[in-house]
Each structure stands twice: as C-alpha cells, then as structure tokens.
C-alpha cells in the first residue's frame, strides 16, 4: 500500500503526444483522484499522427487538435517536448518520478511483405512516405524519385488511398494544404501519371472507407479504374455482402462499381484499383524497376476467406513502390514485446510479462492494440486502460522523486525541452507563415528552426 501524503496528487507520465496520449491524459484528468500528467514527446511539437500522419488535404480531420488544446489547458497537464524516452531519459528514471507510466508511442515500425527486393531503392514504407510529405523532421531528407510514370501502392486500407491521392493530385490542389514545402516542390516535378493500388483481397474485403473512396470519383484529371477480371465476386463474397450488418461494405462496392474498366481519353492520370493480386517480388538492378504480381484466389468460408496464390504472374513496370500494409510498435528495451502482433504485451492495457501484470506500466493506442481504427477509436481505448490504472493506483508505490526531478535533470544535461506554450508559439508562427502562401500553415520541418522560433 502507498504511504502517499494525503491530498497530494498522483503523478502519471505518458509517453507520446498523439491522439491516444492526449485521450489518456484527458481520462486521467477527468477522474476522481487528484492527478498530474506529464506527456513526454520526442519532437518539440505535439499531436503525433494528427500532425504527421493525417493527409494534408484532409484538413478537417486535423481539427481534432482543438480537442487536444482543451485537454492541454486542463489543470495538472504538462507537455514535455523534445525529450525522447529511452534516449534522453530512461523508463526506469520515469518510474522513479511517477506512480505510473503509460506508453502511447504508437507504431513506429512497419510490417514487412517478406518478399525479395523489398529494400531496393525506390521502395518505401507508408510510414516513411507519409512522414516525408507531412514534414516530419526525421524524414524530410528522404530522396524520393518521381521520374517514372508509374507508381505502385501496396495495401487495401485508407493509408494506401492517402498515398495514391497525394501522388495523383496536382500542385494546384496541394498548394493550399499544409503539405511540407519541399514535398510540394518535389511533387510538382512528378512524372507519375499512373498509380496501381494493389491488394491480395477482393473488392468486398478491402478495408477502404467510403468517404475516402469517393474522393477518387472527383479527382481532377484522373480516372479511377478497375479490371473486369479482378472485380468478379465469388459465392462466399456475395454471402459476405448479404450477411453483413455493415452497410459500408455494399456502399464501398457501389462506389467502386462506378469506376471504369477503360481509361477515358480526356484524362491524363489513372488510378487502378487492383484486387486479388499478391506482390511476389520487387525487381531491379540497383533500384526498383518493376513489381511482380501473382494472381490470388479467395478460398474459405464467408468472412474467413484468405487469398491463395494461383501461380499466374504479371508485372508492372514502375519506379516507385510504397508499402501500406500496416505498422508495428518499436521495441522498448526492458518492456515485454509481442513479436507476433507487433505491440507491447498487455492485458487490457496493463503491460504483462509471463502472464503477470507489471505494476505501474500501461499502454494505450496502437502500441497496445496494433495499427487499426480511426482517431476516435483511441478515446475509448485510452479510457479502458485508464480504468485499469485507476483501480491499481492505491497499490502503486509512492515515487522516490518529485515531479520536478526529471525536468531538473534534463535542464542540467543541457537539453532544451519544450512546453505546450512553446508549441503554441511555433503554431502561431507556422500559421503566420502559411497565410501569405494561402496555406493553413507552413510547417517548420527542422528541429533547429523550431527551437529558433522559441528562442528568438
């Protein structure tokens, strides 16, 4: 039992300031006992995938940051930016200053296709490509070559749609977004005219959402296309459609039924939605020159169908391949990791080792459940973990050090950490710079520039 001095608040550290981190902070700060929350963020600026994942042309989605701003104003909230847990400060050090630590790091690694040539130049993961166009300081220097007319996007989810859309949109359409300036410059020179969105499953099983799919119907100068032979539904897929209580399945299908089999002559660009094709090899001498596909057939019972390769091969000549097949969490030394699922091993958010909970350690968001769901999914998910934490709280030992201990030692080591107030200064500066360019903001994409805004 704790020997906590009466009426002093509990202290919780959250690692990561994306949606799941903010929602966890909210759930904690709304709860009964007095709690102080420190959110650690490795970059000087918060919001994780809202800033660096959501596509620049989905500006509305980014309005969720208003909710985060309100959370940041709640009493007891503190952002500690520009501090990387695991490098600048250890997990053990955090445990000595907080009653509990919640990991909200997200999924910082990608899943692999496991095929030959995956690592050739010109083959990128969505994580890299998306972070690049969104101005992430660690990815701004990626060298992406858009000189080939054809690009392949592997995956059947919304990330694949984001990537394809950004590849196909014109400079004019992107220039009014908060896309990174260097990315806009590179994309304006892009020769990409044809994008294939490739997946092993059929149109019924693809995980697109209707809103994102519809955008392809109105993409200027671009035909959304499907191949007749890949758009045939087997009996089990029909059954899935009939039995599904999820109206989105048939909505999606209806949208795609509106796609053409043949490109129209008056449009320059093409976006091919390819189904039942499994990428089997990336080919090329030093860089990607082509992608080999293998035709699949779906076998098994409705809702349990799996794609089985048939041996029928084809190839797409292309200069760029972007793999959008999901993410996995990065390991954190000393914490239990489930290699199979690519998450921290946990039971309802409590980290576990050998079946036993590790007291005071928790996970929320993608690092807890894998890369799925929308931004909102993380709210309920964080609330669930926080419930477990709150029920454990009375048993958690009193930390050895005070709340100021970590900041003091970081300051002593000469690290310039940032606060939420600091972020607001950067925010204002970005918006200011954006105004003259007709953009919602002009993202600052290097760490020194961010810090210089604060210190000027």
């Amino acid at each position: 039992m704790t020997d906590k001095p009466i009426n002093l608040p509990f202290r919780i550290a959250i690692v990561g300031s994306g949606p799941s981190g903010f929602y966890a902070a909210e759930a904690l700060l709304r709860s009964e006992p007095p709690i102080e929350v420190d959110v650690f963020e490795k970059l000087p600026v918060p919001y994780g995938l809202v800033r660096y994942g959501v596509a620049p042309d989905h500006h509305k989605l980014k309005q969720v940051t208003r909710v985060f701003e309100r959370i940041a104003q709640m009493e007891g909230f503190r952002l500690i930016g520009n501090v990387c847990v695991g490098e600048d400060v250890t997990v053990d050090a955090l445990r000595q200053c907080y009653h509990a630590v919640i990991f909200a790091n997200g999924a910082e690694r990608e899943k692999d296709l496991g095929i030959d040539g995956e690592c050739l130049d010109g083959s990128f993961s969505a994580r890299e490509f998306v972070a690049w166009y969104n101005g992430h300081p660690h990815y701004r220097d990626l060298d992406i070559d858009f000189s080939h007319e054809t690009a392949a996007v592997i995956g059947q989810g919304n990330v694949a749609l984001d990537v394809a859309r950004i590849l196909l949109k014109s400079e004019a359409e992107l220039s009014s977004t908060d896309i990174a300036d260097y990315a806009l410059e590179a994309l304006s020179q892009s020769k990409v005219k044809k994008v294939h969105i490739i997946g092993r499953r059929g149109p019924v099983q693809a995980k697109f959402t209707d809103k994102e799919l519809r955008e392809f119907k109105t993409l200027p100068g671009c035909d959304p296309l499907v191949r007749e032979e890949e758009f045939v539904l087997n009996a089990a897929s029909h059954k899935e459609l009939e039995d599904s209580t999820d109206a989105k399945l048939s909505t999606n299908l209806e949208i795609m039924q509106g796609f053409e089999f043949q490109p129209s002559s008056d449009h320059q660009k093409q976006c091919w939605f390819r189904f039942l094709q499994s990428p089997s090899r990336l080919m090329g001498e030093n860089r990607v020159e082509a992608l080999q596909l293998e035709r699949c057939a779906l076998v098994g019972e409705p809702l349990h169908q799996i794609p089985v390769p048939t041996g029928q091969l084809s190839r797409i000549d292309c200069g760029l391949v972007i793999r959008c097949i999901g993410y996995r969490a990065k390991r954190i030394p000393g914490l239990p990791y489930d290699t199979d699922k690519g998450v921290l091993r946990n039971n309802q958010g409590r980290l576990t080792k050998a079946g036993e909970s590790l007291p005071g350690l928790y996970a929320v968001g993608w690092i807890k459940r894998g890369s799925s769901g929308t931004i909102g999914t993380n709210r309920g998910d964080s609330v669930d973990t926080v419930k477990q934490l709150l029920s454990d709280l009375p048993q958690l030992p009193e930390p050895q050090h005070s709340r100021s201990h970590i900041l003091d030692s970081l300051t002593r080591s000469g690290l310039r950490h940032t606060s939420f107030g600091d972020w607001q200064k950067i925010d204002i500066e970005e918006v200011r710079q954006g105004q003259s360019l007709g953009k919602p903001r002009q993202k600052i994409t290097t760490l020194p520039e961010m810090i210089s805004v604060l210190d000027s």
């Binding site: 692999d112 496991g114 076998v299 098994g300 349990h304 799996i306 794609p307 089985v308 390769p309 048939t310 041996g311 996995r328 390991r331 000393g334 239990p336 990791y337 489930d338 290699t339 199979d340 690519g342 091993r345 576990t352 050998a354 079946g355 036993e356």
Partner: protein, 714 residues
C-alpha cells in the same frame, strides 16, 4: 523472501516444447507452470512435467561423480571428485585408443533434453574429433524423415495452428491427448466448426475415444490403407488434376502401381471393411481443407517407411496443400534456422569411421569381442548421456549382458542412477533444465523458445555443454571451438540473420521466452500452395528421384556423417510391405506367439523419463498389458492378474487389463517403466527385436508377435 519467476522451456522429447514459468523462492524452485502468453502451449503443461521441481529435488538425484565399487549392476558406488572422474575416464580412453583405436569408444545419447546446445548434438563434435564410432540415432521419426525426404522433402508441412481451418482431420497413428496435448485445442476448435475427426489406430486411445470416426486398423498395415485410398481417389476421378500436373512427379506410374491395391483386397489386409475404405477416401478427397497428422508410431513396422511415403502422396493428389489447414504434418522442425553443421562438425571425422546403430546396442556390445581379429568394431567403452538404453532399446536382456561385460568401460551422465547407470564404472551428475541455459527448437510448432537458467546447479551437477568442455580439456583438445561458453554456443547455434528471425535478437528472445518464426500467420500459411517442395525436382515426388541412392538415415541423426549408409535398394514408387511377423509370413512363429504387441508412449512418462518418479508412477499404475476380452478369456486371464508376455527374444511380467479398446489378436503395453521401480524386473523392451523397418533404420516395435499367459506363481 526472495521470489522470482523465470521464463524457461520444457526440455522433454515431445513435440510441444512448452514455454514454462519457473517460480523460484530463496533460490529454490517451488513450482512450474505453463506460460499463458505462448499461443501454442497456452499456459498448460502436462502430466509429466507439472511437478518438475520434484525431479530437480528428488532424493535420488546424482549430485556428485560416482565410481563403481561393487560388481556391475550391484548399485554400489563411491563419491569421487570431478578431477578424479575426468582423469579416470580420459586415461582409460587414451589407453584404449592406443590399444584398439578410437573406434572402440561408442557414444550413446538421444533427447533426454532436446535443447539445441545440450541435446541431440552436444557430444557430436567431441566424439567426431576423438574418432569414436559414429552413433546412428534412428530412435524417432528417422524412418519417417527418410520417407518424407524422398517424397515431399524436409518441409515444415502444415502449420499445426492452421488446423483450426481444417474441415477433415486424419490423426494417423498418433494420440495427441497423451503425446502432443497442446495441439488438441486446435483440432478441437476445428471440430467445433464442423470438421470431421478421423483417428486411425489399432488401439482406442484417449484421442480415438473423442474421434468422430475411429478406424481400428491391424498393426503394420497402414501403408496398404493409404494405397487403397489412392486407388479410390484416382479411379473415381477425385484428384486435383491441375495440382498434379504442375507440382508432382510420377503420377502415371503411381496410378498404375495402386491398381494392385483395390479396396476389397486391402480390406482383408487391414481389417477395415471395404465400404469404410471407400468412404474414407471419398470424404478425404472431397472435403477441403483436409489434413493428415502422422505420428511417430507409423514407421515402426517392416513397411513403415513406405507407409509414410504412401500417406505423403495423398495431399498432393487432391490438392490439399493449396489451402492453409490442408496438407500433412510430420515434424515442424525443418524450418528452424539452426546451424546444424556447426553443432555437429562432421568435418572433424577423419578417414572411414565405424557406424553403429543405437537399436542394435545389444548386438554391438555382445557380438564381436571374441571373434573380431582386428578389434575395429569391438566396443570397449560406452559413453551414455541423455538416454537410458536399458529401458528404451530392444533385446533388453542382451543389452544388459553387454553392459555386464567386465572389459567394457561404461560412463553414464544422468540425473539418476538409471537402469543403465547401475552398470556404469563412472556416473556423472547432470543438471536438469532449471539449472542450465538453452535455446529450443520444436518438432510440433513453429516457435523458437528460450530456457533461462532459474537456479545454480545442485551439488556438482554440470550441463552437457560443460561436461564436454571438461572432457575436451582432459583430452588436451586445442581447438578453441571446444571451449566456447554457453552464451557463445547459443549465439552460434542459430542463424540470427535469417529472415525468419527478423524482428528478434537473442537478448529479446531471452526476455520473451519464445518467438514465432517469421512465416505467414497460421491462417494464411500454405507452404505448398504452389508446389515449392524441397525435393530435387521441387515437386511432390510420387516417384522418388533420390530412392536410387538407396536406403539412408539422415545425417542429423548420425553426428553429421553421410557416408556408409545402409544403401539397400528402394523401390522409387510407394508400395506395401507386409509385417515380417504374422500368421502368413511366419506361421510357425505365429503358432507359438499369436498376439501382436504394441508398445506406445505412456500418458505420464516421456520415453523412460519420469518412469522413476512417484507422482507419474502412481498415475501410470503398474506395468500392464491390455488384452481384448476374447484373448483374455481364451487364456483364462482375469483382470488385474500377473501375466507373462514372451517372444523369442525374451519375456517380462505385467498386470493384465482387459478392454475392448484393443482389437482381438493385439495387445498393448506402454513403454517407459523402469526395472527398479516396477514390481517386475524386465519391461516391454525385453520382447522387442532389433530388426529395422524398411527405411531410415526405424525400429519394428509394432511388428512383433508375443504370447501372453497367466504367470505360474508357484
């Protein structure tokens, strides 16, 4: 109180290799339990291992080196130091080598632990370097492995976890509820989603009792049944023509061959009604995905190898490999990225070594000492570790006669003074799994496991790795290879750069205890959906291209040595080989010994391990033999009576159990009981002969005629 939980892994020779949580209080192991996080073994252990701490702290543990002080077999030993023991062993060996050559030394071992560094191959580099006789260890699945290699190659086969997708499951000659129990929930889940479970076994085992359909087949006739199934599948056009055309070799010859096995004829051979054979073939061929799990028992009769060949052809004929949950599962060990060569070091073998098969230990120790002028094959010293041959090897009495030889210098390293160790000149104390570090493959799932050491070794016990470091030093070996630390050995034993281990380092594996090999998820893993068989042709070879090199034992079971193989000619097409002992083949023998005997693994022992421990013995009951009521009645045998089981090789006593679980004319007597701990002296291996099956020097324990009689107790 200092308390901790250590992630270990079960060492026993079992397909399940459970991730095991070892609870330690004040440096003493107080309990073990299954690790709930490992998806295959899922928090459960078994009747053998649940109280592993009782094995560790048994009063009978050997904790110091011992030297024999009485006659061989008297059990009289004195404690000596490790230095004395090592000096005595290596001085004796040096003398023997000078006199007879190193081939007079025979290593003898198997899988008392199956850890990668302490198990199968731990002594191979030492004995290869020494020039000792090669020990051909065809204990388990060697015949199947040869047959498998000849047909579909060394493949993982169907992922055991993907059985949940199967719609038709044939468990052929195996009893997973007793010997592979962590696989059962996957089979059960399939059943609950509508799969039909067929068990083919002469004995109504625990598993057979739960089957939808139990086919009680006559022992040794499985190959005929498989060939009749092929006959029906081909003749009724139930084949997957496209799969056959693309991914198989020799279909036309197979079609012609199986015309010799019409179901009506095979019904007479197998004792399974013709209609049932036809129904089985039709259901199997028309239900998808269909999968076959074969047990080790399948190889243990004269035609065991060809039976496995025939069964291995079935999935390709119907295209069962096309889907996850379809195909065949034998050993899942093959994909593990283990550096086998580096573990065995066959290049240390100089010239032309002698090779001796483990099943023929009795013969090896008794035959040539008088008449072998050159003494090359005469064994003067036996070094036993990880095994208890007196209990596990046929011709038990002959083995003991050999071990009693005064001129045989025997060293045994074990946890206990076993039925074998009692004949040793020197007994060395070995660590149990909780006292040693190891990394583990599995032959029943696709997870690499790590066994962290939980406690310091008890007494002066040493791990096998340390044992061979000490022996190498005592023999003045110079190569630094022999002096690597366990840590270094583990690092070198596995190819950490393999794509199958892409996301896991050794450090991470130590912390997590297990990792699934980086193969597709069970739900999606269909390794041969498009052929890709690891055979010379890349296809499923109905007609085997490597059959022409003759019969062989895979080098993994021969200290890496590929030479001096059995070499007897092998028909490249699957065929049926009749049992060597039967009413038809040996009528005179049958007149005296009219019952077929099976000696399966017990529910509570693993081979001979645990055969001496109270809990497992209490649960197993006395050594027994199960007879059909018809056979009991005709012999006037009552339930619970002491009976004598005999064959021309020898005899033993057991308690009779009478049950319709076994066919008339067949008796069942589980293996694993110790001579010490049984109320009778001999055990079931006393009646088994050392004859090999057709492939891979597998034994013929399911191809033996015996008589069972009430014991005259005077």
């Amino acid at each position: 109180m200092k308390s901790k939980t250590v992630i270990g892994a079960c060492p026993q020779d079992c397909p399940d290799t459970c991730s095991m949580l070892v609870k330690v209080e004040n440096d003493r192991v107080v309990s073990v339990r299954g690790n709930p996080e490992q998806p295959f073994t899922a928090g459960r252990l078994c009747a053998k291992v649940n109280n592993y701490q009782d094995r560790v702290y048994s009063e009978d543990r050997v904790l110091h080196p011992l030297r024999r002080t009485g006659p061989k077999g008297s059990g009289k030993f004195e404690r000596i130091s490790w230095d004395q023991a090592l000096e005595e062993i290596t001085e004796r060996w040096k003398q023997l080598i000078a006199e007879h050559g190193a081939s007079c030394i025979l290593p003898y071992s198997y899988l008392g632990t199956q850890g990668i560094i302490n198990g199968l191959n731990v002594g191979d580099p030492f004995f290869n370097r020494l020039g000792a006789t090669i020990s051909e260890r065809s204990f388990c699945d060697s015949g199947s492995s040869t047959a498998y290699e000849m047909t579909i190659g060394h493949t993982a086969g169907t992922d055991p976890e993907s059985f949940t997708r199967s719609k038709y499951i044939i468990l052929w000659a195996c009893n997973p509820l007793s010997t592979n129990s962590h696989h059962w929930p996957f089979i059960d889940k399939a059943r609950k989603s509508g799969a039909k479970l067929v068990v083919i076994d002469p004995y109504r085992s625990r598993t057979a009792r739960l089957a939808d359909w139990h086919l009680a087949i006559q022992p040794g006739t499985d190959g005929a049944l498989a060939l009749a199934m092929i006959n029906v599948i081909i003749n009724e056009g139930l084949i997957d023509r496209d799969y056959i055309d693309r991914y198989t070799l020799g279909f036309e010859e197979l079609r012609e061959r199986v015309q010799q096995y019409p179901p009506a004829k095979v019904a007479e051979i197998t004792g399974i009604p013709c209609d049932d054979i036809v129904q089985l073939a039709r259901e199997y061929a028309s239900t998808s995905p269909a999968v076959i799990r074969i047990g080790v028992a399948l190889e243990r009769h004269a035609g065991g190898g060809q039976a496995v060949r025939s069964i291995s052809c079935l999935p390709a004929l119907i295209g069962a490999w096309r889907q996850p949950g379809g195909g065949l599962l034998q050993l899942s060990i093959w994909p593990f990225p283990v550096n086998w060569g580096h573990l065995m070091r066959p290049e240390f073998i100089g010239g032309s070594p002698c090779v001796r098969n483990v099943w023929q230990l009795g013969q090896t120790l008794t035959e040539s000492r008088d008449n072998d002028a050159g003494n090359r094959t005469s064994i003067k010293s036996l070094f036993v570790y990880n095994s208890n041959p007196v209990i596990m090897v046929p011709e038990q009495e002959r083995v003991i006669r050999g071990l009693e030889r005064e001129d045989l210098f025997t060293v045994v390293s074990d946890h206990f003074v076993t039925d074998t160790a009692i004949y040793a000149d020197i007994v060395l104390p070995a660590t149990t799994q909780v006292e040693q570090e190891d990394i583990m493959f599995s032959w029943g799932h696709l997870y690499l496991s790590y066994n962290n050491r939980s406690i310091d070794p008890l007494g002066e016990a040493v791990s096998n790795t340390e044992l061979f470091r000490r022996l190498a030093k005592s023999m003045n070996f110079e190569d630094p290879y022999f002096y690597r630390s366990d840590e270094q050995m583990i690092l070198e034993a596995v190819d950490w750069d393999s794509p199958l281990l892409k996301h896991t380092s050794l450090e991470e594996l130590k912390q997590e205890g297990f990792v699934r090999l980086g193969l597709p998820k069970p739900d999606e893993y269909a390794p041969h959906a498009q052929g890709n068989f690891p055979t010379p042709s890349g296809k499923c070879e109905f007609r085997s291209t490597i059959a022409e090199q003759g019969n062989f034992v895979i080098p993994l079971f021969r200290q890496g040595y590929a030479g001096q193989q059995l070499g007897d000619s092998v028909d490249p097409l699957p065929h049926y080989i009749e049992p060597v002992q039967s009413q038809q083949a040996t009528p005179e023998l049958f007149a005296k010994y009219p019952l077929k005997i099976l000696s399966p693994k017990s529910h509570t022992f693993i081979s001979s391990s645990f055969g001496n421990l109270t809990q497992q013995m209490r649960q197993a009951g006395e050594q027994h033999v199960i007879l059909n009521p018809v056979d009991a009645q005709s012999r006037n045998i009552q339930e619970g009576e002491i009976v004598t089981v005999s064959s021309p090789v020898g005899s033993y006593q057991a308690i009779s159990r009478i049950s319709e679980d076994i066919l008339p004319g067949v008796v069942v007597s589980p293996v694993g009981y110790w001579r010490f701990s049984s109320q009778f002296t001999s055990t079931v291996q006393a009646v088994n002969p050392s004859k090999f099956a057709d492939l891979g020097a597998a034994p013929t324990f399911s191809d033996v005629l015996v008589q069972v009689e009430a014991t005259n107790l005077e």
